[in-house]
Symmetry: C2
Subunit: 397 residues, 2 copies
């Protein structure tokens, strides 16, 4: 655990306490339950300070005592347990996909309590999507417990997002350019909590890092497959954003200068080889299944021959990503997870033939532990940030 602050000159004691309260809550939020002894050792604060922080969080209703937990070594007195009260606070997680919107009500601890989903028409108007979200939000809030406080809204979009001002700079598969989508949603919802918006792959990486295939891993790449292909990257335990937050556009690695024209304007981008359109074409499926390619692939018992070349292209592109970033884990999300289920050995063979031995020796290529919820959970994690930064302050608003 990092980020523990110590009381200093006295002028900033309140800030230090707020910070530490958030750090304890973050830990319980991540782990679901823990013991005071474990918190004491993780945070390097003394027992009474931890006890005081835990008591404050109990008073706020965010955690409760649980059965005492035996220490890891099995020796000594069992330590007082703490567990998250998921119904005390919740966020709205909004996953805008190319063909559908999913809205989840997600309780503290990232418990997805309820989901609602509506399909979208091709290239939907942002206003239409925002209106759709309003309806879904009403649906998922309908049976929320009256004691449960809404503390944030997190929005995922399959495109290039400028997080600072909530602008969707470019979402080619939605047909959006420079859409101030966070503001649009905030305006329609009329909610006063923080609204955050981010790229779907970045949120997928975050979710799998915190609660999925990348727990305890500091270097992870999440590759999203939702018609287009993008990546969210964690290096040294932190998201890789780049100068403008636009890093991870691996769908537009260009492999074939004389290849197919990509909607980005270039030729031969990876997306023209492994995007959903290319795969639908390869398996002879009609173009209108493109947005639901994951379901189509999941219906196959075994891989059709035509997917072998696709698998080769997937592995080839992943090898480039691995050579550049040297991750421990690569998680294939969306329809790429379905593809991985069918042609894992072929993908791995292509990865192996392309990676430098040093970087590629230990890399694990896998599917999301959180399954279809990965991006939704990532959006929820982002939405919980303000509560985790200042638990008492956010609840008193």
């Amino acid at each position: 655990m990092t980020g523990v602050a110590r009381a200093g000159t006295g002028t900033n004691q309140e800030a230090v306490r707020r910070h530490n309260l958030g750090t304890v809550l973050r830990y319980v939020h991540r782990t679901g339950s823990t013991s005071r002894a474990s918190l004491t050792s993780q945070m390097a604060l003394n027992r009474s300070t931890i006890g005081g922080l835990a008591a404050t969080l109990e008073d706020l209703g965010l955690v409760r005592r649980s059965t005492p937990v035996a220490s890891r070594a099995g020796a000594g007195r069992p330590s007082a347990g703490l567990e998250v009260v998921s119904r005390r606070a919740y966020v709205l997680a909004i996953d805008v996909g190319v063909d559908r919107v999913v809205v989840g009500r997600v309780g503290l601890g990232c418990d997805v309590e309820v989901r609602a989903r509506v399909n979208l028409p091709p290239e939907p108007a942002p206003e239409h999507v925002a209106e759709t979200i309003v309806g879904l939000v009403a649906a998922v809030r309908a049976d929320a417990s009256p004691e449960s406080t809404l503390v944030g809204v997190g929005i995922s979009v399959p495109g290039v997002v400028r997080e600072a001002d909530g602008m969707v700079v470019f979402a080619p598969n939605l047909g959006w350019h420079e859409v101030p989508f966070a503001a649009l949603v905030r305006e329609r919802l009329g909610l006063t909590v923080d609204h955050v918006i981010a790229n779907d792959a970045d949120l997928g990486a975050r979710a799998e890092h915190v609660r999925g295939a990348g727990v305890a891993v500091d270097h992870l790449v999440y590759v999203s497959g939702d018609v287009g292909v993008g990546a969210g990257v964690i290096t040294d335990g932190r998201p890789l954003g780049g100068a403008g937050g636009f890093a991870g556009e691996i769908g537009h690695m260009s492999f074939a200068p004389n290849g197919l024209r990509c909607h980005c304007g270039s030729r031969g981008c990876w997306e023209t080889q492994v995007g959903a359109v290319a795969i639908a074409r390869a398996i002879g499926a009609p173009a209108d299944v493109v947005p639901t390619l994951d379901a189509v692939l999941d219906d196959f018992d075994g891989p059709p021959e035509s997917l072998h070349e696709i698998a080769h292209h997937v592995g080839h592109g992943l090898a480039n990503v691995i050579n550049m970033l040297n991750p421990q884990v690569v998680v294939l999300g969306g329809y790429l997870a379905s593809l991985h289920r069918l042609v894992e050995p072929e993908i791995l063979a292509a990865v192996r033939s392309g990676v430098m031995s040093a970087a590629g020796g230990q890399v694990l290529v896998t599917r999301p532990t959180l399954g279809a919820d990965t991006v939704l959970v990532g959006a929820a994690e982002a939405a919980f940030e303000s509560l985790l930064a200042d638990p008492a302050g956010v609840l008193s608003r």
Copy 2:
């Protein structure tokens, strides 16, 4: 400036003071000279604390008072100036290239006081290189001031390096596999200071970030061209290492599945298109000029027609790197700097045609500010780390 620590419980005051002393020295080392007022505002410590730290560094002979410096606004009393005493401490910076070794004696503030260079035979034995280094070190130390203390050795190698144990895992253009080169050099030199070793591109990125084209930039890619091609990456102001420290192998982005066989075992790697061998072939130069391709390119008044296709390949690969990492600055080092001087417009055109507009809009593609010294300066910066972490401790050893 980051990393300022505050005195806490009393038990760790000595550690805090050591840390702050190093932070002040690091600042003066980077800037060459500064004022106490500037240090006070940068470090958010009070005047008397800064004064005490500066006095200690003066006593150690590492800094001296200089002419008072007017405040930036021009108002108020001029503040006491501080400047680095470069001759008080020095490091040995060793730049092992594919065809030569350069050893520099580099004073505090990264003043390259003297360089010595010897050419290497093809695929030199590590022991031979280490012996060569011993001779060069003796040459550059011969006229070192007796008051100047050697505080570290920094070694750059064009290959994949495991920094933790000083192992050169793979340096294809030297023909090295699993060579414990840092230990080999340490043994031959018989010096008791810290020896650090790193990849040449990583050190180039570090040097240009601290003192070159990437000062005040948080996202930078340095592309090394020394027969092969690699990258050193800075993201969020910190080096991107990856799980094993092997990130940045962009020479082995594979573009053409049916392309030329690369020495890494793959086909169609970027290095087969833009490596020194490919360029020598394109301009009809004999193979034995490959290691000195920079000098050959520097002799051209204008670009031969044959370099236009190479420029296109360079820009195409850079676009992929930019799409993935979203840097503010890309620095082309080694023979790629010479190439850039000849065909900059063609490289830029290819970059522009391949980048996503969001990520590529603002990127600057340029040559190293530090010129041929970039990697040497990076090795020196790495070697100064132990002094900057504990100035008094290292000098008293």
